[in-house]
């Protein structure tokens, strides 16, 4: 996927989110790190369509990981900023790649500590399969078939200076 395709895909997903929630305001919560700029861009698109800016937030899931004792290097904990009073709201979690589903499991646990939302939905730019948990996305940018030995890397200009998606062999 190149830069234009990434933008078009994010806009399409934002439109789908609007449609599925039939105009109700949603809260977009980006999972650190690349879910954060994704959520911001989708929020801008939704604001252009509806003249109303959706609330956005960021979530760091490292404190909720189930593999903390197993990962070799300790993850750096980034900022979490969830808007106050998200009880009874419709929340869309935004992440770049949906893979095993374990990040989303952690994100669900984290979100539930902030209250009881009306719905929690999931938007992922890439769904690469290989789920280990019963988790599916409501909004998918692109579904791709991958081998377990491959790495899917989403690059966004806010962090990586370009918009692109690469599928690479693990080294």
């Amino acid at each position: 996927m190149n830069g234009d395709e990434v933008t078009a895909t994010l806009n399409r997903m934002a439109d789908e989110i609007l449609k599925a929630n039939s105009g109700r305001p949603v809260v977009l919560i980006g999972i650190q790190r690349r879910g954060v700029p994704m959520a911001r861009r989708m929020a801008i698109h939704i604001a252009e369509q509806t003249q109303r800016e959706p609330q956005i937030g960021t979530l760091d899931i490292n404190l909720y990981r189930d593999d903390l004792t197993r990962v070799a290097s300790q993850p750096v904990v980034q900022k979490t900023e969830v808007p106050p009073n998200i009880d009874d709201r419709d929340v869309v979690l935004v992440d770049d790649v949906l893979y095993t589903g374990r990040t989303i499991r952690a994100a669900l646990d984290a979100l539930c500590d902030f209250g009881r939302m009306r719905t929690i939905q999931l938007a992922a730019l890439i769904d690469r399969g290989h789920r280990e948990l019963p988790i599916e996305a409501n909004f998918v940018g692109k579904k791709i078939t991958t081998k377990d030995s491959e790495v899917v890397e989403v690059r966004l200009r806010e962090i990586d200076a370009e918009d692109a998606i690469y599928v690479m062999e693990k080294i």
Partner: protein
């Protein structure tokens, strides 16, 4: 990741390690503002607070930090433990290790007690204050508070005033701040200034200055840190009277007004109001004393996470 088992002092921490702790603490501060102030990160880990000296904020702060990370926190104080039956420190430590504690926070009146424990236990040892040696978590939370208000740790003038001779806080802060190239002025009455104290930081000795005059150090300081007069450690007379001490080394309203307009006033607590600091100053607009307490929880969460998580 902190590549060490224990946190024993500031002296052997690198600048990178200190910044890593402070940056992590910034992320953790948010947890304390949530409606549910708890994350599951250290579930199943056991933290033991082993306090041989009185403490309110350090012990409570470690207990809250551990509990907000879902660790099990157990408090032991010397008066209600087997220490009162004559058990040695080493046996107490081995006992706790045999119960598979993951971390022991120790405060002891003997300098070096945490270092002794660290050689004998598998558990991570955190120094919660040892004698007049070090109090690393206090220096880290002070650095966090300074960075919060001044935006940096380098190129500042910090005046540390009061009972320098009994103060581990002064030593740990001097180690930390001089590592970043901040000038530290230690100010005390001659009887409360240990001989050769400026030599405690070998590498950055040019950043440590001594003074016996409060007015000389306060007027251009960016940070004024007052130290408690530690009466409980004084078995002889160090000054003629409390009133005289306050007149010469107390932070009065008049002295605070001669300081820089953006000065911040700190105190590690507990305060002796009317001895080293006037009530109006302690509760006044320049005081960040309660910010220090809030920072303490975030910094200790970060330390527990970096030592025990993963």
């Amino acid at each position: 990741m902190l590549k060490r088992k224990d946190l024993l002092g500031i002296q052997d921490l690198s600048r990178e390690e200190i910044l890593q702790i402070l940056d992590t603490a910034e992320s953790f501060q948010e947890v304390s503002t949530r409606p549910i102030k708890k994350v599951p990160t250290l579930r199943g880990k056991t933290v033991i607070n082993l306090f041989f000296e009185a403490s309110t904020r350090t012990r409570t702060s470690f207990e809250i930090a551990g509990k907000r990370l879902s660790a099990d926190v157990i408090n032991i104080s010397s008066s209600n433990s087997s220490v009162s039956k004559g058990e040695t420190l080493i046996d107490t430590a081995k006992t706790l290790d045999a119960m598979a504690a993951d971390c022991v926070v120790i405060r002891h009146s003997a300098s070096g007690a945490p270092h002794t424990l660290s050689r004998l236990t598998k558990a991570s040892i955190i120094n919660g204050g040892d004698g007049a040696h070090e109090h690393p978590t206090q220096a880290l939370l002070d650095a966090y508070t300074i960075r919060q208000h001044k935006g940096r740790l380098n190129d500042l003038k910090v005046a540390i005033i009061g009972d320098v001779s009994h103060s581990r806080v002064a030593r740990s802060n001097t180690h930390l701040l001089t590592k970043f190239g901040t000038h530290v002025w230690l100010c005390a009455a001659p009887t409360l200034m240990p001989v050769g104290v400026e030599k405690i930081v070998c590498e950055n000795a040019e950043f440590v200055h001594l003074s016996h005059s409060m007015d000389e150090v306060v007027h251009d300081a960016d940070v004024v840190m007052m130290l408690r007069v530690q009466f409980e450690r004084m078995n002889e007379s160090f000054f003629p009277s409390v009133r005289e001490y306050f007149r010469y080394y107390g932070l009065t309203t008049a002295r605070a007004e001669r300081a820089k307009s953006d000065v911040i006033i700190m105190h590690p607590g507990p305060m002796n109001r009317g001895v080293e600091i006037a009530t109006e100053v302690a509760d006044g607009p320049y005081s960040v004393i309660l910010d220090q307490v809030s920072a303490g929880v975030a910094v200790r969460m970060a330390i527990l996470y970096l030592l025990l998580g993963g």
